[in-house]
Amino acid sequence: MSQNLVAAQGRRSVLRTKWPQRTALFVLVVLAALVPHMTGNQYYLSVAYQAEVLICLAIGLNIVVGYCGLLDLGFAAFFAIGAYTTGLLSVDRHWTILATIPPGIAIAVICAVIIGLPTLRLRSDYLAVVTLGFGLIIQSIATNLNQTGGATGIYGIPILTVGGIVIQTAQSFYYVFLILLVVFVFISFRLRNSRIGRAWLCIREDEDAAQAMGIKIHRYKLYAYMGGAVMGSVTGALYAPALTAISPPSFGFNESLLILMAVAIGGMGSVWGAILGGAIVVILPEAFRQFSQARLLIFGAMLIIIMMTRPRGLFPEGAFKGTATRLRERFNDRAPPRPLVAPPEAAVRDAPSEGP
């Protein structure tokens, strides 16, 4: 763990120096962009964009849990805040969908501060309960208030248009979420290698040491919580028009768990892991759909097996480091190891001509 931290600090930018990772990202995006052309099946496409939505959420939660080490059990609350803000503003007040994103972000950040400010000082187990409670409260409010449509939720959410392009089919939503996904991945990598990102990793590795080094741990924890909240809210805002109708059950504790599972299965702190984990969490239960009732049973069992055999996740932080380092060494760093203290130049020059 701490080796990764040192390695991360040594590198200025993951994207700049880790070119294999950058290439992999590019290839993946191109491949992902081609998926709708390979299959016209609406069912596959809708599963695919739902996987993208979960991946977006997992990347958001990865900032909170993976980078900063805060256990958040109510992440779906921010997803709900984004979706409901969009739903209410677009249906009742006839705002365009894109215009509803900033208020959604604002509300999510305000909620993150209200919940985070008093509780981020607590031990992380207590934080888990408070976030769990926050998730349930948001769901409860959505269920019980008349303004949010109660248990039936909000329906008839208008069509999303971006600059005159109408986004309505599963295929177009697939592209929307793909773009969002790439943006989130980029932000995550940049944050990871920024001053804030290093502070987060320090807090995760050793809170006391981080504090001793002068990191304002409460402030940085709050930043992480807010960062996750923003990503959750934006994803929710775009998910609402994709569903056209939203209701409280979609934003409950199970959703929070699913996102957390995605992060943990993929590998904590790793953006690649979040992508893989999100895909697994959505696609695996769908693949077992033929077993109908037993599919969650199988899913639960697989979860246990994955955690027992690969407790750090399938794709943990630094999984790429081996490959990347090897490749870089092959191409760049062929120079033989230097001695710790270089000998004086004169001695080196004079050495061969010794003893005529």
């Binding site: 919940i115 509780t119 769990l132 409860s140 246990i304 407790p311």
Partner: protein, 302 residues
């Protein structure tokens, strides 16, 4: 005032259930630092197992019914304890060196397996099942409030069981070993304590208490469902944190406080806000007293 008294008493009964489940949560947490999300589902499985056993033996024993309930209850406590020990042995024990979050995800996986396992057993399934034995309505009056004898029995049994566990932990050699393992597992092992055995015992006690709570819940509420463990687990966990997690007295107190808060809150705001009231109370309490009501180990890094 009468109404308030009634709600207070009602909260006490609900709190008694919470307390029993919360003690199990709290003990496992105290020793492994693991939030055992499957604990609520041990409770649920216990309710179903007792449902089947009672259904098979209680029919026709009208006079002996309470005797039957008692021995079935003890049997179910034993079985649930063994289920918890088994879960520990098969899942948590091999993962002892893994990160806590991995352990918690595995616990969530186990919770899914138990819930959906019960769902897939033909005679159990997803419906609300009527418990074979229900509590009699006769009791006594305090003022204008009516309480049944069974409600009194629940509080007494919960109190006795919690007291027993408290005495076990605070007065016996085994309890001393538990506290030592909880304090520092490696040092405890070096002192010759059989850490694995201690952990197994803790799981057994937690499971057994959940089993007792399950039988009483079944008799008191009269129906069971495969999702019942989820809510109770959540509330018991909250209760454990409320009282100061890892602390047995705290778990009991947290259970009672939570039960009363829920009951009074429901009376004031309506049943649909019960959960909100619960968690608002929790956040306020944690804000004012970050270690829980009885939490002692204040600034310790866990």
């Amino acid at each position: 005032m009468e109404l308030f008294l009634n709600e207070l008493a009602n909260g006490l009964f609900v709190g008694a259930f919470f307390a029993l489940v919360a003690v199990g949560y709290s003990m496992v947490y105290g020793i492994l630092r693991l939030i055992n999300f499957a604990h609520g589902d041990f409770f649920m499985v216990a309710a179903f197992v007792s449902y089947t056993i009672l259904g098979a033996v209680a029919v026709g024993h009208v006079h002996m019914v309470w005797f039957t309930v008692i021995w079935v209850g003890l049997l179910v406590m034993l079985l649930t304890g063994l289920l918890a020990v088994l879960a520990n042995r098969l899942i948590y024990h091999p993962m002892r060196r893994a990160a806590l979050l991995s352990l918690m995800i595995a616990a969530l996986g186990l919770s899914q397996v138990l819930e959906n396992g019960v769902l897939n057993i033909p005679s159990w399934g997803s419906a609300f099942l009527t418990y074979p034995v229900t509590s009699p309505a006769n009791g006594f009056n305090v003022g204008q409030s009516h309480f049944t004898w069974f409600q009194l029995i629940i509080v007494v049994i919960s109190g006795l069981l919690s007291l027993g566990v408290y005495l076990l932990v605070s007065r016996t050699l085994l309890g001393k070993a538990m506290r030592a393992v909880s304090e520092d597992r490696i040092a405890a092992a070096l002192m010759g304590i059989n850490v694995d055995l201690v952990i197994a015992v803790v799981f057994f006690i937690g499971g057994a208490l959940a089993g007792a709570a399950a039988v009483m819940t079944g008799v008191y509420y009269g129906q069971i469902n495969y999702l019942m463990g989820w809510t109770v687990g959540l509330e018991a966990f909250t209760a454990a944190v409320l009282g100061g997690i890892g602390n047995i007295g705290g778990a009991v107190l947290g259970g009672v406080v939570l039960g009363i808060a829920q009951s009074v809150g429901t009376g004031w705001f309506g049943a649909e806000w019960a959960l909100v009231v619960t968690f608002v109370v929790l956040v306020l309490l944690l804000w004012l007293r970050p270690t829980g009501i009885l939490g002692e180990r204040v600034a310790r890094r866990m």
